[in-house]
């Protein structure tokens, strides 16, 4: 069966030949126009004038538009109508688009954009957490506060107390393909937009709004992205709107792509956080209460900051049953890029807060941090040791409910009924030889004065579902043609995660045919409407189920026809091995399909899915926001040069839970890539804004993502082979975001190495650059 097979990605052959098309590779008509934004030179102020004469005079420039050219400025926001396409008087951040150049070529547009002068009456920008708090510059009326049991009382009663603080840097997505869009005007005011986006429906919605046309007049197509990571959930809106407006006004195709410096200066990044903690614990390291305060800089616009900050709160417990917890979350408005979605969506920052607490408690008590973590784990769900059935229909609800045992709840009152980290971590401890290596590291550190080693094991429990409950829906469209070929379309987008192939494997399995019969087509708002962003790791869960629903309708119609003709029951018609068997008879899938066509059976269906059992009140911080949890754990060993701060990851061991994987090869790829990206976030990837609000790290020359030479020389990755207890597609689990947080083990391994040369807990901030490590050693 195709489900569970480690097949290469569907477009792998196109990629290795260089013939896979991205937006910038699509052939355009010769009259295509090219766009570039002119950017604000300061972080805050009022525009007093624009000097665009030199830019307009450049040969090849067709038009330059400013706020004055729009009676109503189009909005680009995904949430709050607070992102004008072009600055309308006030400047909110350095890099904000102020004017739009339309030219005959990409380079001419860029040259003209640099020639334009923006005159500004500067204001002092709000850049830091302190400045934002002093000015009460924030989103929502005040901090969001959730409390689970009486935290102050639990803290007061605790036999041991400690407190601390961690700074957590943001992260640039650095998708290799920058933001890009292409708009092609059609007849009767309609618009076709090709966009490198995770959210075609939102592009359609925002373009329709900007053009004052109904959504039905705009079609958005996305075949693939060259990486997304959350950075193409909302950040592609300005390009698509600018292209569509130009195409509509001038009646010519229009294309825009940011060059790398523009991309990094204009678009949002992962939210940086400061997290303070007040902890009560006992002498064995059991955490009795935590009071967290989370501050995050959201940048100039609301964007997706509220759900991001919510998810940071929702992961403040990570894998630990803590009897009392209070979380206070400040969402601060600053004169910087609009912090936005990034793989993990706030979860990683919240999770790092509690992992820091576990480490700190262990250091305080002189215990192995692993022991402290295990003592605080949620209770293991029963039934796991024997493994679970993999068939989608089998009823495992009794096991899922953990009949007879007391169920613990998270600080937001969701029962934890699928916890597997006792078993998973136990296995990883063995396969990674954790205890022997812990001793070896101590011996090495005792014997070597300069190079110090560090080791850390950290777990992940990540909640799966959009926390905005209505987003948990998906649609699909499946056609079977009379020659037996199958065309599949759904609302999910392909950004390299292998979604298209995993869902195609589901389709092939439902019809019992080989995968090469299934044609995967570009995501298209004209085929499947009202889709959610491909985000929250939900792509396969949602779209896999929607495609399954569509396939099953067609298959069942064929089965009814064949059953009638053979005096059999429809449920006894078997689709397998590209054949259809009914009664004693057997025919090829093509023949069955041809027969259905001749008998006027509809061979097309749309499928729909909505995630069951979820409900959530984000103001109260109470409910069941997640359908289930995905789990994993990683052990990282590092070596640190204590004279320079230079360091290397020596070895990483990962055991990760994908349920019954739809495609283990693609899932392992997500895990490896997620770990490396997470480790990059917390080690070498540093965003630096200067005192004027200028992002100083706006190119790969100054912003260091992991390179091939940074890859751990020993890198063991395995899947935890148990089915999902929730009834997901073939009992698989989401895998996009959870592995990113495995990178936390690299950060805490570095902290462990620093601790070996200090008497006290190092309280390392992230990212742990060589410079910061050296400062922590010498502090």
């Amino acid at each position: 069966m195709s489900v569970g097979a480690p097949l290469p990605q569907d477009a792998a052959e196109l990629h290795v030949r260089g013939s896979a098309r991205y937006v910038d590779d699509i052939p355009v008509p010769p009259d295509c126009l090219h766009l570039a934004f002119g950017l604000a030179p300061v972080a805050a102020g009022r525009i007093t004038g624009l000097d665009l004469a030199a830019a307009r005079a450049l040969p090849g420039v067709r038009a330059i538009w400013t706020a004055e050219d729009f009676p109503e400025m189009p909005d680009c926001s995904s949430s709050n109508a607070d992102e004008p396409l072009l600055a309308t008087g006030d400047i909110h951040y350095l890099g904000q688009p102020v004017f739009l150049v339309v030219a005959d070529s990409h380079l001419t547009a860029r040259r003209a954009a640099r020639l334009g002068k923006v005159h500004v009456e500067e204001r002092k920008p709000i850049l830091t957490i302190e400045e934002a708090l002093a000015a009460d510059s924030r989103f929502e009326d005040g901090p969001r506060i959730w409390e689970f049991n009486d935290t102050a009382a639990a803290l007061a009663a605790a036999p041991h107390r400690l407190s601390g603080r961690i700074e957590i840097g943001g992260q640039e997505h650095f998708y290799l393909e920058g933001q890009a869009a292409l708009a092609l005007p059609q007849e009767d005011g309609q618009m076709l937009v090709h966009s490198s986006t995770q959210h075609p429906t939102e592009i359609q919605h925002k373009v329709a709004h900007a053009l004052h046309v109904p959504m039905s007049a705009v079609r958005v197509e996305t075949r693939r992205m060259g990486g997304g990571f959350g950075g193409k959930e909302s950040q592609g809106n300005p390009l698509a709107i600018a292209c569509a407006l130009t195409a509509s006004r001038l009646g010519r195709p229009a294309k825009m792509r940011y060059d790398r410096d523009d991309d990094m200066q204009i678009t949002g990044k992962r939210h940086d956080f400061r997290i303070a903690y007040e902890v009560g614990h006992d002498a064995e390291g059991r955490v009795l209460a935590v009071d967290f305060t989370q501050w995050t800089r959201c940048g100039w616009s609301m964007d997706l900051s509220l759900p991001v900050a919510d998810r940071a709160m929702l992961h403040a417990d990570n894998a630990y049953a803590i009897p009392a917890m209070r979380i206070e979350s400040h969402r601060l408005r600053t004169n910087t890029q609009s912090a936005t979605a990034f793989r993990g969506f706030g979860g990683p920052q919240g999770l790092l807060g509690i992992e820091r607490v576990m480490d700190h408690v262990a250091a305080e008590l002189g215990l192995d941090p692993l022991e402290v973590r295990q003592r605080n784990f949620y209770a293991e769900a029963p039934g796991e040791a024997v493994g679970l059935p993999r068939t989608p229909s089998e009823d495992i609800s009794e096991v899922k409910r953990g009949a007879g045992t007391e169920v613990q709840v998270t600080p937001y009152h969701q029962p934890v009924t699928d916890f597997i980290l006792h078993g998973l971590v136990g296995q990883l401890v063995e396969t990674s030889d954790y205890h022997a290596r812990r001793r070896a590291v101590a011996e090495w550190n005792a014997a070597n004065p300069v190079l110090k080693k560090g080791l850390a094991l950290t777990p992940v429990k990540f909640g799966i579902s959009f926390t905005l409950t209505h987003l948990n829906q998906a649609g699909a469209l499946v056609h079977v043609y009379q020659d037996g070929s199958i065309l599949m379309n759904h609302g999910g987008t392909e950004m390299g995660q292998g979604l298209f192939q995993k869902v195609a494997q589901v389709a092939a399995a439902r019809f019992g045919v080989s995968i090469d019969r299934v044609r995967i087509t570009a995501t298209d708002t004209g085929k499947v409407p009202n889709t959610s962003a491909t985000a929250a790791s939900s792509g396969s869960d949602l779209n896999g189920m929607a495609v399954q629903a569509a396939c099953d309708q067609i298959r069942d119609r064929i089965a009814v026809l064949l059953a009638e003709r053979h005096q059999a029951r429809p449920e006894d018609v078997v689709f397998a091995d590209d054949r259809v068997r009914v009664g004693g008879d057997e025919m090829s899938f093509e023949d069955a399909v041809a027969l259905a066509y001749e008998n006027r059976v509809s061979l097309s269906a749309s499928g729909f899915y909505k995630t069951p059992e979820i409900e959530w009140d984000r103001i109260a911080g109470r409910g069941r926001p997640f359908y289930y949890f995905a789990y994993g754990a990683a052990v990282t060993e590092v070596v640190l040069d204590t004279l320079t701060g230079e360091n290397r990851i020596l070895r990483a061991d990962i055991l990760h839970d994908c349920g019954a994987s739809l495609n283990p090869a693609l899932d392992i790829g997500q895990i490896e890539g997620g770990y490396v990206q997470g480790a990059g976030w917390l080690t070498t990837e540093e965003l630096v804004w200067d005192g004027s609000g200028r992002l100083r790290t706006h190119a790969p020359s100054t912003y260091k993502i992991p390179a091939c030479s940074d890859r751990p020389p020993v890198f063991n990755v395995a899947l935890w082979k148990c089915a999902n207890r929730a009834a997901t597609v073939y009992r698989s689990k989401a895998v996009g975001e959870p592995p990113l947080m495995l990178g936390v083990s690299a950060f805490l391994a570095l902290s462990d190495a620093v601790a070996s040369v200090r008497g006290d807990y190092p309280s390392l901030d992230a990212p742990a650059t060589a410079e910061r490590l050296l400062m922590a050693i010498n502090r």
Partner: protein, 163 residues
């Protein structure tokens, strides 16, 4: 700006065209010759998505003037499988899942092709450092290294069999 005359060979095909002196090789390949396998990632020679071969060396075509390629032999990803069949490296990247979003893949394979010409029997460490100029944001590089090592051993086995 006055244009200049440029003659070069791309993927075995002789090309003659007029370019501006400051035009970059990547723009000529993509926009004038419609060769879109090499991609534009950073335009500052850091990411390697635009890697091509010029006169038997890996170059980042976003920081090579087209004028510098006058008279040169240039090979892009499209030139690695001129007869239609995927070559050993291309096949290894596919089989060993050495790609995700695929945007870095053409540059990555073009660089790996040259690496294996320079060093037909690399160690994992030599691959890691030999490929350090080509960034991938998706895979974590594990499967890229695996694919290159697999291709190297397959090419060496084929060579031995032929001898």
């Amino acid at each position: 700006m006055s244009k200049m005359h440029l003659k070069l060979t791309v993927n075995g095909q002789a090309e003659e065209l007029r370019v501006e002196p400051r035009e970059l090789l990547i723009h000529v390949l993509r926009e004038k010759l419609n060769i879109t396998g090499p991609h534009i990632g950073c335009e500052t020679s850091h990411c390697g998505a635009c890697t091509v071969e010029m006169n038997g060396k890996s170059v980042k075509s976003c920081t090579v003037f087209a004028a510098q390629a006058d008279g040169a032999e240039v090979t892009t990803i499209e030139g690695l499988s001129p007869l239609g069949e995927m070559n050993v490296l291309q096949n290894a990247f596919r089989e060993h899942h050495g790609l995700q979003c695929g945007f870095c893949t053409p540059g990555m394979i073009t660089r790996a092709h040259r690496l294996l010409q320079e060093n037909p029997t690399p160690t994992a460490e030599e691959v890691r450092f030999g490929m350090a100029g080509n960034l991938c944001r998706c895979t974590g590089y594990q499967n890229i290294v695996k694919a290159i090592l697999a291709a190297a051993s397959e090419m060496n086995a084929a060579k031995e069999a032929a001898e």
